[in-house]
Structure formats: C-alpha cells, structure tokens
Amino acid sequence: MILFILCFILFVIGLYGVIMQRNLIKIIIGFAIMEYSVILFLILIGYIDAATVPIISESFESGPFVDPLPQAMILTAIVIGLATKALLLSVAIRLYKKYGSFDIREMKNLRG
C-alpha cells in the first residue's frame, strides 16, 4: 500500500507545482510529474508477484505473466503524454515570444 501512497504523493507534488509555479516550463514539468504518477499507478496495479514479462518464449517456461493490459494501455498513455507535452511546449515557446517571459501571472488578458 505504501507504494500507492507514494504514488499519490508524487501526484500531489505535481499538482502543487502546477498551482504554485509561475513559470510555464515548470508548470509543464509539474503536469508531466502528475502524468508519471498516474502512469506508474496503472502499472503498479497490473503487477503480479512472481510473474514474468508478458512474452511467450520457448526457452523458458511461460507464465504466469504480469497483467499485460495496463502495459498496453500505458504504452498508449505515454505516447499521448508525449504529444501533449510537445504541444504544451510549442504553445509555451509561442507565448514567450508574445509576452516576453514565461510568467503565467502576466498572461491574464482573458478574465472576468
């Protein structure tokens, strides 16, 4: 259970970063950390004691395997995460050009 709690703490740190940081890049980092914690959480779920890598092989006895489904899901999630981060970074670099800084506090034209 401690693993899950640590995972949750990692999530909270990421969240805290997103909330408290003023710098766009650091907000993105905080967001990425949140994402890591969720990814890790799913893999932790799928782990089974004394199970092997889910690859069928003739050389050694196959199974029991760890749950392959979360791994398949996470493979997708990692790619999605990469896509999101790339997009965020490209927006950040554009924002830097427009505002001359990475400070999110200055970006409040849209309010009210």
Partner: protein
Amino acid sequence: MIDFQMLIIMPIVIGVVLFLLPDNLKIIKGVISLLISAYTAYLSVMVFSLPHQFIATLGSINWLYIPGFEKFMDLKVDGLSKLIVLFIGIFGFLYSLYSLSYNRRRAPNSEPNHIPGNYHTYYLITLGASFGVALTDNLLLFVFLWGLLGLTLYKLIKGHNEESSAAAKKTLVLIGASDSVLILGIGLLYICSHTFKISDIHLGTTTTLSTVAFLSLLIACMTKAGAFPFHTWIPDYTKDAPASISAYLPASLDKLLGIYFLARMCMSTFILSGWVTLLLLIIGALTIITSVLMALVQHNYKRLLGYCAVSQVGYMITGLALGTPLGIAGGLFHMVNHAIYKGGLFLTAGSVEKHTGKEELGELGGLCKYMPVTFAAALVFALSISGIPPLNGFYSKWMIYTGIIEFGSGKGIANQLWMIWLTLAMLGSSLTLASFVKLISGIYLGRKNEQIGTVKEVGFPMFFPQIFLAMLCIAFGIFAARWVIPEFFEFTGIGSWKSLPGLWNAPSVSIMILISIIVGFIIYWMGTLKTSRRSDSFVGGEKLQQELSFSSLEFYKTIGTMKFFNYFYDKANKKWFDVYHLGKECVLGLSSALSVCHTGILSTYVVWVVLGVATIMVLLII
C-alpha cells in the same frame, strides 16, 4: 357551422408566407394583410353568433392533425371569449386599415418613419395568436401563443436608435420574464389540478401551491396588461413604437388578453381568498394612482398615453378583484371601453405624428383647425377616458364605483377598506381628466407652432378607424344602460343584470363622478395658476388659448415643485420604482462580483478544480 379554427391558423400561415415575400412589396403585403384581417373580422362576428360553450379542436383541420396531439388543441367558445374574439377581430381590421396609410413614407422634411421590417408578418401572427389565446382551452397551447405575442411585440418596434432599442429590450425582458413565470404557474396549476384543460380547473387559493400558482399567473396577466409594478415597459414602448402598433398591442390586444385571462382566473379557475382579493385591490389602486401621476408630468404625448393606458388597467383589476357580478362586469366593460378609446387615442396621436413629425407637446398646438376630424375624435376619446357622461368610459367607471360601494357591505379586511379604494379610484379619474385636458389643449388648442409646416387632415384609411372608434364610444355610452350593459351581463354569464335593479339609480355615485370631474379641472387649474400669471406678464392681452398652451408646457414644473410629489418624481426619474431597473441592478451587481473571481490566473483555476473535487468528496463522504 363555420371553420373558426381559421381565425387562428390563417393569419399565422399567411403571416409566414408574407415573411417569405421580398421586402419591397410593402403595399401588396399591406393589402393582403388588410384582406386577411377583414376576413378574420367577419369570422369573429360569426363566432359571436355561435352558441355558448361551443367546443372544437384545432386538430380537426386535416393537415394540422397530429396523432396524440389533439388534447393540446382544444378550443372552447364561451361568452367571455366570444366577446374578446369579436373585439380582436374589429381592432385587427381597423388598425390594419390604418397601417396602410400610416406606414407610407411621410413628408420629405420630416424624419424617416420607423416601421419595422416584416411589419405585416408580425401583425398577422399577432392577430392569429391573439385569437388563439382567447379561444384555447388548453394551458399549454395557451402559453405557446401567449409567448408568441411577446415575440411579435418585440419585433414590431424598430430599434433604430439607442432609446428605442432600449425600449424594445425592456419590453421583451419584462414580457419574457412574465412568460417564464407563467410557465412556472402552469406547472404548479397542473400539480394541483392534474389537468391542462382550463375549463376543468377550479381551485381555491388556500394552499401554498395554488396561491403561488395564482400569483404566477397573476404576474403574467399584470405584465401583459400593464399593472403596477410590471407596467414600466408600456410608456417606453408606446413612445418609440409606431402609433398603429401602440394602438394595436399595448393599448388594445394586450389589455384585452391580459384582463381576459385575469377574469377567467378570477371567475372560474380560482376561488379567491380574502387576502388575494386585498392584494389585487392594492395592486389596482396603486396602478391607478402611480401611473396617472406619472402621466401628468409627461411632455411626450405618446408616453403620456402609455401611462394613462396603465392607469386604466387599475380600474379593471379593481373591478375584477371585487369578485361581485357588478365588479367583474364593470371591469370587463371597462376593458372593452378602454381598448376602444385608448386605441383611438393612439390612432389620433399617430395621425398627428405622421403629419407634424413632432412628438413633444411643447412643439405642437392649434391643430384643431387643420385636423378637425382627428381633433373631434380625440376629444371624444379624451372625454371618454376621463369618464364624462354620456360616453362609455363613464358607464364602466360608474359600474366599478357602484361595485366598490356594494362590496363595502361585505365582511373582510378588503371590504372594510372600501372607502380607500373608492377614493383612490375617483382621484385617479380626476387626475386622468387633468392630464387629458393638458393633452388636448397642448396638441389641438392654442396657437400653431411655427416650426410645423403645412398640416392636412388625414386620408380615409387613417380617418375611418378613428371615426369608427369614436362612434363606438358614443354608441356604447348612449345605449349603455338600455342595451349594452344588460347584454354584457348576459353574455359573459356573470349573472343577470335585472337582478340588481336597485343599484342603477344610485344618485350617490353620479354625484361622486361629478365631484371627480370638478376636482380634475381644479387640479389642472392649480397646475396652470403660477404659469398663467407669468405668461400674463409676457404676452399681455392675448387669447386664453395661448395661456393654456403655455401652461401645459409648464405643468410639469408646477406639479414637480410641490414638495410631496417632488420627492417621488425625483425617485421615479432615477427609476426607483421600475422593477426592470431594480432587477437589472441586482443582476449586474451579482455578475460583476462573480466576474471579479475570474482573475485569469491559471493557478486559481486549478485550485478551483482541486477544491471542487475535495468538496464533492466531502459531500459524498458524509
């Protein structure tokens, strides 16, 4: 047997067809609209001859038949709705005729007229929807058509400048709000009675639910008819809308329908309890007094007429609130009379406006020579609205006064206070007289203002409706006692006129009316006192008319400087008594408070999410 469903269907369908025609066929559209309204007027006369309690359904028209929908399409003709249908038909035709000429381009030197686009479409849809409102026996169809009326009302005023678009906005907001409240009321009514059939509902206003339902419906009626405190759209609307539309909707149809529905509620749908009666009487009295006080100080004649239109609603509500046969009959009779003379007044105002291009009393004067017919009609209407015998306004007011006195003999708080209602009603009548002396003298008497160019009498299409309505006023007045009022009782099924013989000859009421007329002149004279002295020193031995024309201008200042009134006028100018304005202030205040919270900072937003999740968790953990 006639297809009186066509009353509803045909104007709406033709209206939509006209919408599809190109806009530059204005005259053709006008003629089509006139023909349709003539046909519906004919149909409405036919409906008038139908037997009582006639039931039909809209769904009986083939192409409109929708399976499973018939029950929402019930129509029912009874005495009350017949009466309303007849007058809607007449007004629809007259005003359509009037519009033909009124909508044409004016004299080149005057301002462009502000006739909204697709005028005839909305005119006809209004007509059909009004017939529908009067005839339907299903609350859902009722609310649908009722809402449609609000929509056309909005589209029939052209927001050509800041002021008129503000008026349009205010109108739609108030009417739309009352429609929403109406929906709430109908929902509550359904809970109480488990039916949408109007004629099947008979509820006491004893439980909270039914009282709230009644109040919701009441608000809808009051807004539509224009009673205090929901009346504020009417003066704004009448000031900026075309005169034909002011006559058509706020002065005639909206009054007819609003009071019609109120009458239906008071007569059959609800059994009023003492408190509700008291509430209605207070509303009635307040409406009479506040609006007529406002009317006194207006210098735009269309606005003045708007305020007077509101004031008269007070009489109708008072009459209906009494709950006695005499009171209800008086209220309904007053409704009809009012629709006639107030519609007529707007028509005459429209004629004046079309030919002079002026809307301020101070810029006009002495038109009686140039527009004699209009002047004569206006005079009849003005005398009628002020309750001068033997015109129709006198008789309906008289019935209401008698009703109040009769009502006073009953037990209950509202009954005990009958003196107050009577006094206020009579005071209102006096003030109405005062304001109309001002109107007539301001426009028609006195010396002609040089700024106005040549003025001609209006053409036949405008001239005929005015005369016709004036004749109606006179006819209703002359034949009131012998024929109109007894028929009225018969028709609406309130009771028998002959059962109340003792009241007709009550001399006390006649004396009261006389007193109120005298008081009215005194008030007007008091108002002119100061200024005539000043104008004396200015013009010397000129004619009396000139003093009058001057004093009508200065009237506002005189009344306005009286200490007691001064306070209220001041507040009224700041819109303290305007429900719309108050609501607007509240909503905008709340809005800006919420808006401040949206700081535009991402961190805050994320914190909201976090707090939101936490709050939901806390709520669910318990």
